[in-house]
Symmetry: C2
Subunit: 468 residues, 2 copies
Amino acid sequence: MAKLSGFPELLPADRAVELAVTDALRRVFELHGFANVETRAVEPVETLLRKGEIDKEVYVVRRIHDDASPGASSSRSDALALHFDLTVPFARYVVENAGKLQFPFRRYQIQKVWRGERPQQGRFREFTQADIDIVGDGTLPFHADVEVARVMAEALAAVATVLGLGAGTTPGGGAGLRAAPEELFTLQVSNRKVLEGFYIGLGVATPTAVMQVVDKLDKLPGEKVLELLAEAGLDDASARACLALAEISTEDTSFVERVRALGVQHPLLDEGLDELASVVAACADVEGVRVTADLRIARGLDYYTGTVFETRMNGHEQLGSVCSGGRYDELASDGKRTYPGVGISLGLSRLLVPLVADGLTSSRPVPSAVLVAVTDEESRPASDSLAQRLRSRGIPTEVSAAAQKFGKQIRTAERRGIPYVLFPGEPPSVKDIRTGDQVEVDPDTWTPPAHDLTPTVVGTPLSKETSP
Amino acid sequence: MAKLSGFPELLPADRAVELAVTDALRRVFELHGFANVETRAVEPVETLLRKGEIDKEVYVVRRIHDDASPGASSSRSDALALHFDLTVPFARYVVENAGKLQFPFRRYQIQKVWRGERPQQGRFREFTQADIDIVGDGTLPFHADVEVARVMAEALAAVATVLGLGAGTTPGGGAGLRAAPEELFTLQVSNRKVLEGFYIGLGVATPTAVMQVVDKLDKLPGEKVLELLAEAGLDDASARACLALAEISTEDTSFVERVRALGVQHPLLDEGLDELASVVAACADVEGVRVTADLRIARGLDYYTGTVFETRMNGHEQLGSVCSGGRYDELASDGKRTYPGVGISLGLSRLLVPLVADGLTSSRPVPSAVLVAVTDEESRPASDSLAQRLRSRGIPTEVSAAAQKFGKQIRTAERRGIPYVLFPGEPPSVKDIRTGDQVEVDPDTWTPPAHDLTPTVVGTPLSKETSP
């Protein structure tokens, strides 16, 4: 019965936070007209192994009956495995259903994925991702890049607001909480064409190798990166120019001038700068998230061809990027047709589980806003009927499990964080257990204040900071 | 790239129906104060194999690296497998977190489960279940049985309404649809104590064996059941009494009299009749679902100890029970403490996939209620900004992917089932593409009618019946 390392499970109050976050994501995605899709959990092992890198992380799935039979482990060809991301299954879904989808196809997908990695901080073996992608049939206009950036920027801002960790927001669940000093998320945007065009303009022979070195700038000091660039064959001036490019980070389109000031010229660079400027400009008015052009972002090992995204969570930089993606000119292909795509994947568990470990939770572990007291077991139906009258008006309500003394029933509500107790009677009365105030009410009209109807997020690191 | 048999995947318009159904379920469960929980997808194989029957249906999961190493398939003891239901993982979760939960603990859980069965109609290898359970610490009052019955009855009624298949409801998405002639779901309730008490009162030596025979009454004719009862050692009069009991089915508490009329006496029978009458009486006022006391329901192979549930879907009886459960006096145990529970599990995929195959879908494959037209690529930001003004008021809106002629953009909206096209201009105007009416609007106040804001369920079997 021991917990399995790498397979996080949330207690009900913490799960309520996760639900509130997925609701907020879904709302933003649907407001922008993205359709929801779910794909099966398994794919043929062969499909998953096409990206060689992932090989060792895949979980193979086999019927126990087949598993026990001799030689089973050698018949890899028809074996199934759990998907390790939502991109590969989505690409397969697009090809399989192409005739029934309308392109550009815009979808969101919120599902579990599995990786057989060694568990470590911020890495899980089972975790939830929330992806958006736009995929075209043959071609996909660049404005799709602008759109996914804008939608995910709004989604990140909505998540910060739900968590009570948005800049300027005040977390629910208590008085005296300080507003967050800055945005929780920084969406960092870059563009492979800027980097590649710059390197080619500099005369670098191996732009991809340079990109993979620059990608390590988060983990290595600048001096070490210069060394690695020298090893990759760059002269000192070129290496320093690459480093200077990578150090450019602006919250507006002023990065364009700073790149130009480095004096490198190439048509691909021009195209990339135009694209990146469009993305950053389109996100400028999204409140509650910081969006930066950040030229150290290269996503070295992935097959992106233009726009690339990473996302840092303020105060949790050690988690790395919590939301990444970019433009693939070949998201999927069936041999005849090619489906270009652009998308971003938010690591929901990766960002949420550490916050929960830090004390983030919700104000109650149950949806109930009201507990209806039970006078004695004989009159339980009367209490049930009172509860039903509240529910019919959308008020989550539970009935006491035991007809104990009222004081005990009130303490039960208190322990569960349920703010109101309704006592049967003629007329019934309601006690706000936080203030102790009790008033007679009409059960067909009384409604708790809106902020008490659903649990709110509490216990943020900010709220702890303000306690003595 | 072939589809995998037994792993159903829905197209976006069909997935929208599934989402609407899970939203309706969640709403009912939360109104009753049930907390949501998600458990990990895997359990140790040993935990899953405790119920011997399931053995052959389990999917074993193993890191591909471990899988390839020799002797791997023999080390079953620490192997993991995908859960085949939500009850076993929930029982484990309760024991593991008992110190942090408050009892009686009421939770709902909507997740995928996996079974390595041979796929056949209504049976899948991956499917979604929606479970509710109430679990106590040591004891659990009987009124929990009444509560789960009531909550699931309301949930079934809500599902029928969402699907436009409730008795008296009119499906959305078109005129001229007939109201359903009867309830979509029949929740059949029985009680093991009634059956066992009756058999013991009759002098039957092996009540469990009799229960398992009676349980086959759906599949076998009465004569065959009598034969099997004779083989189980019953004399003809006793066998006929057992059959007579099993044939009792009432929509109210009149079943009590009919059982009494069979002349059998036993205290366990009395207790069971009281319990069953309470459950049926408590569900009497739930509209949109039929709830019956049905004494052929025994759930022969499961370890229920009192109340048992099955559910038939009208017109789809061949699917068997789509929603089953009951009272376990030992849902979970850690050796020291015992946790009794009562719950019901709704087979969401089992009921939905056949309806979708019959033509049930939603009115559009996208959430968008409005498509904003784009005059030319230069003015795309103006169209984006118009869209943003609608979204800020909760109207799902997408912007045309291509600045084609307006006629083409209108046809795009038509193909996607998006009811309104907004044209930029001073002032902008909106066309209802169903009527062709176009009117000038203020984009900061215009709102589509509520029934157009979200996709509605269409294409029900009923709507097809009414077409020529």
